[in-house]
Symmetry: C2
Subunit: 273 residues, 2 copies
């Protein structure tokens, strides 16, 4: 029979917190950015690539596989704080834009024990963190081929190529939401291929409905560069006049120019508001 408590203080004093079997939680970070590729010739713009930061595991489980930067959440630490801590330890940067992505709670995610993972999506201007990268961390260019049924992702850091395929299943008729099932993956640890698929989808969806992209831009940029970033994330060409009309509300012209590019110089813009 249950004891009757007269007050919350009295109840808490007696409370046995071992009643439920406990588990661990990690904060995992999808750090996205845009990398410069090569210049084909002196006239052309730099090619750009959508890219993500991965870390090579040096210990079991999944030794030598790649995974998202992440770490366990301390018992006296907020999940958000853990995410900030992990990100700072990989990049040596604070004040990076970050938002919670999703919490993955499958039972066998981690072979060691029950671990929940709360993932965060972070965006950064890659030029801000040259030379500050942690050991074992590496930027991978992201290429996505997607149709109604499958999403093919190729990650390439110049040395190593990681490919995985996510099968898409419509979860809900009413909202256009897909569940991703990883059907092929041999180089990514845990369920991180899945996490990456969810993150890429989320980012694509938010690009047009928010100003999120500016987190990946330097303070001054040309509209051409900005357009490249949109194109590389959305994986499609945009029409110049339309892009400029839409983006005009969010940017402001500065008096600076970018010259020396083998073609007409371009006004540098800045994020507005």
């Amino acid at each position: 029979m249950e004891k009757e408590y007269k007050s919350e203080a009295e109840f808490l004093k007696d409370y046995d917190s071992s009643l439920f079997e406990k588990l661990s939680i990690t904060a995992d970070i999808l750090l996205f950015s845009v990398s410069d590729g090569t210049k084909e010739n002196y006239r052309k713009l730099n090619e750009k690539y959508f890219s993500i930061l991965l870390v090579k595991r040096t210990t079991y489980p999944f030794k030598d596989k790649w995974c998202l930067p992440g770490g366990f959440v301390g018992i006296e630490e907020t999940i958000d704080d853990a995410a900030v801590r992990v990100l700072a330890s990989e990049t040596n940067l604070h004040n990076i834009y970050m938002e919670q992505l999703y919490t993955f709670g499958d039972v066998k995610r981690d072979p060691r024990m029950r671990v929940i993972s709360t993932s965060y999506m972070a965006l950064v201007d890659k030029n801000k963190l040259l030379d500050t990268l942690a050991l074992n961390a590496s930027w991978f260019n992201v290429m996505v081929l997607e149709d109604e049924k499958e999403m093919h992702v190729t990650l390439d850091n110049g040395n190593e190529v990681i490919k995985f395929v996510a099968k898409k299943t419509l979860i809900s008729k009413t909202t256009e939401r897909y569940a991703y099932e990883i059907v092929s993956n041999d180089k990514l640890a845990f369920d991180h291929a899945h996490t990456i698929a969810v993150g890429i989808t989320r980012l694509k969806n938010k690009v047009n409905s928010s100003d999120i992209v500016f987190n990946m831009m330097p303070e001054y940029f040309t509209l051409g560069e900005l357009q490249q970033v949109y194109e590389v994330i959305l994986d499609k060409k945009l029409l110049d006049p339309a892009f400029r009309r839409i983006i005009a509300k969010k940017t402001e012209k500065t008096s600076k120019m970018k010259t020396g590019e083998g073609h007409r110089p371009s006004v540098l813009f800045r994020y507005k508001k």
Copy 2:
């Protein structure tokens, strides 16, 4: 010095899972629906209210306060499964539309011990579950007054009125995202006022960009009824012709009519695709 392992199997055998202090996680459900109010006179339509299901706590902590239906996630149970289980135990219904909302991970959410909460947003046609409600559970009509700085929420189940105020702070310039800080609340347990604020915001944002609303509708409905649901969630009047144009793509006319309403009868529609 760390021991060298030759294989993953060997590593796992030795792994001491008590290295990190563990914690508990709950799945909490925001179950939204639309309730019929009273008819002013025989000619008028039923008034409708946006509503949410709350449960009165019978034990400490927060005894006699209201909270979201929720429960601890079992060590061998997916978070999603726990959410489905909790929802079924409150409503006796399966196959309710549900999506993960957010994971709240503040350290002092629960005075007993460290508990993470993953919240889910669920939508249901309330008429499907008359008389199947669990004890202590009650539907509250939701009224929201919101401006740039604050969100005032009033919940009313006919007997009891719960009010809270959430102060909004812009988290990120680039995306229009707000953090909510609860500045007044005396009848809701845990951080559930906060969760409700986040859930209402999410629902409002998704109403126009998805077909989510149809999860709250019966199979057959008039366009007037559907419009009422949109209006009550968005908390604003919509223009009939515009609404009908937009909704036309998502609905299909049936041969059934709704009559006996003291005014012109209306064709019953159905969700399409």
